[in-house]
């Protein structure tokens, strides 16, 4: 229901016609008065990593830059657009930090229109201690100042200050990578199989046991040619033996779901009483992020649906 709006908003056709282009985010952080870059992986969901392994968003904060260009901004106004001709249409970023239940907005540091189009530049820092867990950045058009007069044919357009008239791009940053990344170790040995999983004794996967190497670990054995190796190139977007990795991860998730008691599985699916980053909480996020519904009726159907979803997820990340 939240997305039903009774006025025109940005469509992909309008975005294309107006020559709307967004540049990739640049993420940095400051440490001891120096600025360092962060590496990013993924598109709609970005995982940030620090080659120096210093950065944590909680303690170092996060700075980003983003540039948006519109070659023909006038095409977004008037009866075929999203704002009245006399209105002031602007761009802002709405941020949401779900873990801390906080939201806010970011205005561009510069917004210049020349005869080659409009360039909107964002530069913003989240100070240490203000963000944790996740961050959603939604770039939107909004009516900065409504039109004094509504012209012929513009009656259907919204003409109120502060109203969003369409999303340009939505990006989710996932900072909990130590928990979201599946705990994997490589172990080369001719005496061991291609892969195996080790679980610790779980006390309470809903609250006590974290989704980390302390609770579980998937071992891959590169002794075998068919062994998958995640992130095997510099940019981390190529996976050797991709199909095998899909299969192994699907079976590992199946084992984890089967390890849960009926009550814990229900709590995981329905998100009841789950501590942040606990095994069940991460499994819940996994379930929520699935493209197709998981089939719980039988182990074989669950395995099949896990395989499909994990393949899609890994493809998206690449």
């Amino acid at each position: 229901m939240e997305n039903i709006l009774f006025y025109p908003t940005l469509t992909p056709e309008m975005a294309e016609a107006s020559g709307l282009k967004t540049e990739k985010y640049k993420f940095t952080y400051s440490y001891q008065e120096k600025t360092y870059g962060l590496q990013q992986k993924g598109n709609a969901t970005i995982k940030l990593t620090d080659p120096l392994e210093i950065w944590k968003v909680e303690s170092e904060g996060l700075t980003f830059e983003k540039i948006i260009r519109i070659a023909y901004p006038d095409l977004l106004k008037g009866k075929e657009g999203i704002a009245c001709r006399d209105a002031d249409l602007s761009i802002c970023i709405i941020w949401v930090n779900k873990k801390l239940t906080r939201t806010g907005y970011i205005l561009p540091v510069s917004d210049v229109t020349t005869n080659t189009g409009r360039i909107c530049k964002f530069y913003y820092s989240f100070e240490p201690g203000n963000i944790s867990g996740d961050l959603e950045l939604s770039i939107v058009f909004y009516i900065k100042k409504k039109a004094e007069s509504v012209q012929e044919g513009e009656q259907d357009l919204i003409n109120e200050d502060g109203v969003s008239v369409g999303e340009i791009e939505r990006t989710v940053l996932d900072f909990s990578s130590i928990y979201m990344e599946f705990p994997i170790e490589e172990y080369k040995s001719e005496n061991e199989p291609l892969w195996w999983v080790e679980f610790s004794e779980w006390e309470d996967p809903k609250t006590v046991d974290m989704f980390s190497k302390d609770s579980m670990c998937l071992y891959l054995n590169p002794y075998y040619e068919g062994c998958p190796a995640p992130s095997t190139n510099e940019e981390g977007n190529y996976i050797k033996n991709f199909d095998m990795l899909v299969d192994i991860l699907a079976q590992t998730y199946l084992m984890m779901f089967k390890r849960l008691s009926e009550d814990d599985l229900r709590a995981t699916i329905q998100n009841i009483g789950l501590e942040n980053n606990s095994i069940c909480s991460i499994l819940h996020q996994f379930i929520e992020g699935c493209y197709e519904e998981l089939h719980w009726e039988s182990p074989e159907r669950l395995l099949k649906s896990l395989q499909k979803n994990i393949r899609l997820k890994l493809q998206e990340e690449r």
Binding site: P128, G129, S132, E160, G162, E275
Partner: protein, 281 residues
């Protein structure tokens, strides 16, 4: 500056401690209540760093009770909340990450201040009789409701419900109502009621917009009369508006938006009331 990460209590550890109270027999538990009614919490239960903090908050709790004739009411929540916020303020490096960390609040509620949490939220009305042995005529402006699934202690208020842990909700209420200093904050919030705290904390929408909430509470304080129904209606309208609108980006920003929001609701309620009175005549 205290390192808050050193003093945390997990869900399970908090649950075990509360269970140990639940498992006491009547004699043992009534004795425990008597200790709490005397604000007697063993110092070895919590880190020494928390001692001055505990003393300051308990002092405020006691002063508020003394001023109200031992009545637990909204004013007590407000005064304790402001004192808590002064001691754990973002200006003193208590970050919103800390304030959102339930393990820190569990530690404070269960280990450092179980006495005032219990006095504020006893689970059974008969326990109040024992508290009254030491806090004469202790009364509650809102009747005590026994929490389902809790035995002797209200577990939601101590540790289990992230938006109901009492001291945590007070901190967030003051944070979202903060007007720059304690005096101004007290003035703006003094005519509200306990229900407003839960409205605010339990319905964050997409997330807390701190500046907007501060402006809304200020605008509400300017109305001729502060009624829960007005606040509820305005909060609901605000949530609906915020689906497509960013209040800060409207002309006049959050301050003007909040004023118009409350004026709109207040006028509508006043008109409705007039119409009802006309019908009665």
């Amino acid at each position: 500056m205290m390192d808050f990460s050193r003093f945390r209590l997990s869900f399970n550890d908090a649950k075990n401690i509360i269970n140990s109270y639940d498992e006491m027999n009547d004699t043992q538990f009534f004795d425990q209540i008597r200790h709490w009614a005397n604000y007697d919490v063993p110092e070895e239960n919590y880190g020494a760093e928390y001692k001055p903090f505990r003393e300051a908050v308990v002092d405020e709790f006691q002063a508020s009770l003394a001023d109200s004739g031992n009545r637990i009411n909204y004013d007590l929540d407000l005064r304790v909340g402001i004192r808590l916020y002064e001691l754990l303020s973002p200006a003193k490096d208590f970050t919103v990450i800390n304030a959102n960390d339930d393990d820190i609040w569990r530690y404070i509620s269960v280990n450092v201040m179980p006495d005032i949490t219990f006095i504020r939220y006893p689970n059974l009305s008969e326990d109040v009789k024992i508290l009254r042995e030491y806090i004469p005529d202790l009364s509650y402006s809102i009747a005590i409701k026994t929490e389902k699934d809790s035995i002797r202690m209200k577990k939601k208020r101590f540790y289990s419900h992230t938006r109901r842990i009492w001291l945590k909700t007070l901190w967030w209420y003051i944070h979202l109502g903060w007007q720059g200093n304690s005096e101004k904050t007290y003035e703006v919030l003094k005519n509200n009621g306990t229900n407003i705290i839960s409205h605010f904390i339990e319905r964050p929408g997409r997330g807390y917009r701190e500046q907007l909430f501060r402006c809304m509470l200020y605008a509400y304080s300017l109305l001729p009369e502060q009624k829960d129904s007005t606040f509820r209606a305005a909060a609901k309208l605000n949530l609906a508006k915020c689906v497509s609108l960013e209040p800060a980006l409207t002309e006049g920003g959050e301050a003007e938006y909040s004023k118009e929001l409350f004026d709109e609701v207040y006028d509508r309620e006043a008109t409705k009331q007039d119409a009802e009175e006309d019908d009665t005549e």
